[in-house]
Amino acid sequence: MADDAIVNTTVVTGSKDYTLTGVQEMLVKAVRASIDGSGAAGQYIPTLQMLAPNGTVMWSAELASPVAAGVSVDMNWFPGAGGGGATVTPSLGSITQSWYSTSPGANFNFNTRAAVVSNFPANTSFTKLTSTSHLLITFNGDFTPGGTPDTVTCYMTLDAAIMTAFSANISVVGGGGTCQMARTVKGIAAGVHTVGLNVASFNNLNCTLLSSNSCDMEIVEYEATTTS
């Protein structure tokens, strides 16, 4: 017997239910839903549930990773799909999510030419939603140099691999220094990744990364319109 489409186009805040009535009986093949997260109070997990007549949740099919607040997704559930049977459907040109660093409680001191892992950011976990997306990662941070002359270098890392570096040449002591970096990345698999920042002082001077209040890192995940 051929399949049918049962549709409800109304927009509701909260959950949306379809309850069978009368003598209805059906074999469910797939469910699609457009989720508007623009007003979400926090990150959310789109979930398809089946409820028994008394309200008991018989099963839940959840998206493997939460969707960031403000992000909208078009969900598709069907048997055999991984991650709970739900996926984020990439839409070319769309921004899938944005991520923002949080600061640790203290600044970070360093004094070696060899780069060391700093304490920034405090939230090192980033969950990439699709494998097709690109990432735009930016860093803007201040530091106090330990003396002059020196070259202080900051390295953004993803899963401990250095993505990009910026060196600030210090010729005057008394002020501060700033590192500003940006990088686009493609070919990164969906799932949980670790972001970080390494730092170094070329002349092994006692420098301080002002990570407690003067650093920020941001990640924008987007479906690029080109693969180049």
């Binding site: 051929a2 399949d3 049918d4 489409a5 049962i6 549709v7 409800n8 186009t9 109304t10 927009v11 509701v12 805040t13 909260g14 959950s15 949306k16 239910d17 379809y18 309850t19 069978l20 009535t21 009368g22 003598v23 209805q24 009986e25 059906m26 074999l27 469910v28 093949k29 797939a30 469910v31 699609r32 839903a33 457009s34 989720i35 508007d36 997260g37 007003g39 979400a40 109070a41 926090g42 990150q43 959310y44 997990i45 789109p46 979930t47 398809l48 549930q49 089946m50 409820l51 028994a52 007549p53 099963w59 959840e62 939460p66 969900m75 559930w77 069907f78 048997p79 055999g80 049977g85």
Partner: protein, 62 residues
């Protein structure tokens, strides 16, 4: 979602948006929802109003 889901009157399919603890997240809206299914004892593509803003999409011959 599981395979071979055969449901009848009184059972509900729900799209919800939850936090990691299973509580509903406020402010999230659900727009168009489409269920693809084989309906028992219903002529495919016949179309119709199922109540509660749910509609059975009529086929090209309806």
């Amino acid at each position: 979602m599981p395979q071979d889901i055969d449901i009848e009157s009184g059972y509900t399919l729900r799209v919800a948006n939850l936090d990691v603890n299973g509580a509903a997240v406020s402010g999230v809206k659900v727009g168009t929802m489409v269920i693809t299914a084989t309906l028992i004892d219903v002529t495919p593509g016949s179309g119709g109003d199922l109540g509660g803003n749910w509609f059975l999409v009529p086929g090209p011959g309806a």
